[in-house]
Symmetry: C2
Subunit: 100 residues, 2 copies
């Protein structure tokens, strides 16, 4: 993972650039907006996360319970702290992720 934090907005790059995000503050605390290209990615959540789909469809496997579910625009899922999730995208997906 690489990120540039001396800029007013942090830009985070994962999986050789196939997942990228931009940091922001929201009324609900720290968040990122990001884009995922086609592929399958595993993310570990050190703090609780709430993922909201902005564009596209994300198939999610929560490692906490193994459940697999598809999420479309405006749908959200929670990731417990200390767990991880596997995201599969067949097309570009945009998301908003709240931390904490």
């Amino acid at each position: 993972m690489s990120n540039s934090t001396n800029s007013p907005i942090s830009h985070n790059v994962y999986f050789e650039g196939k997942v990228q995000s931009l940091g922001l503050e929201t009324a609900k605390g720290k968040a990122t907006v990001g884009v995922m290209k086609k592929g399958t990615y595993t993310f570990a959540a050190s703090s609780p996360e709430k993922m909201v789909i902005i564009s596209g469809i994300m198939e999610v496997k929560l490692t906490a319970d193994g459940a697999i579910k598809k999420y479309a625009e405006q749908e959200a899922f929670d990731v417990a702290a200390g767990t991880s999730f596997e995201a599969t995208c067949n097309d570009d997906v945009a998301y908003l992720c709240y931390y904490g």
Copy 2:
């Protein structure tokens, strides 16, 4: 404006990094998701644009008719091709912009 396009996801940087966006393809065509820090910015639209607010509140002045209006989460506004708009953010704002 600077952007890195040899990456799988284009990352666009405007106004000394206070506005940044990430490119993606959507069911509705090309789009970007982006973040604006506190400030006032003017954007010119070479093609029609639809701006959707994802987080925060954006005060928008459409130069086409001078109307000034605030847009909150899930609210959207259209920018005609060949016109511009002035966006004022008092806090971080995240947006999704559809082109064409």
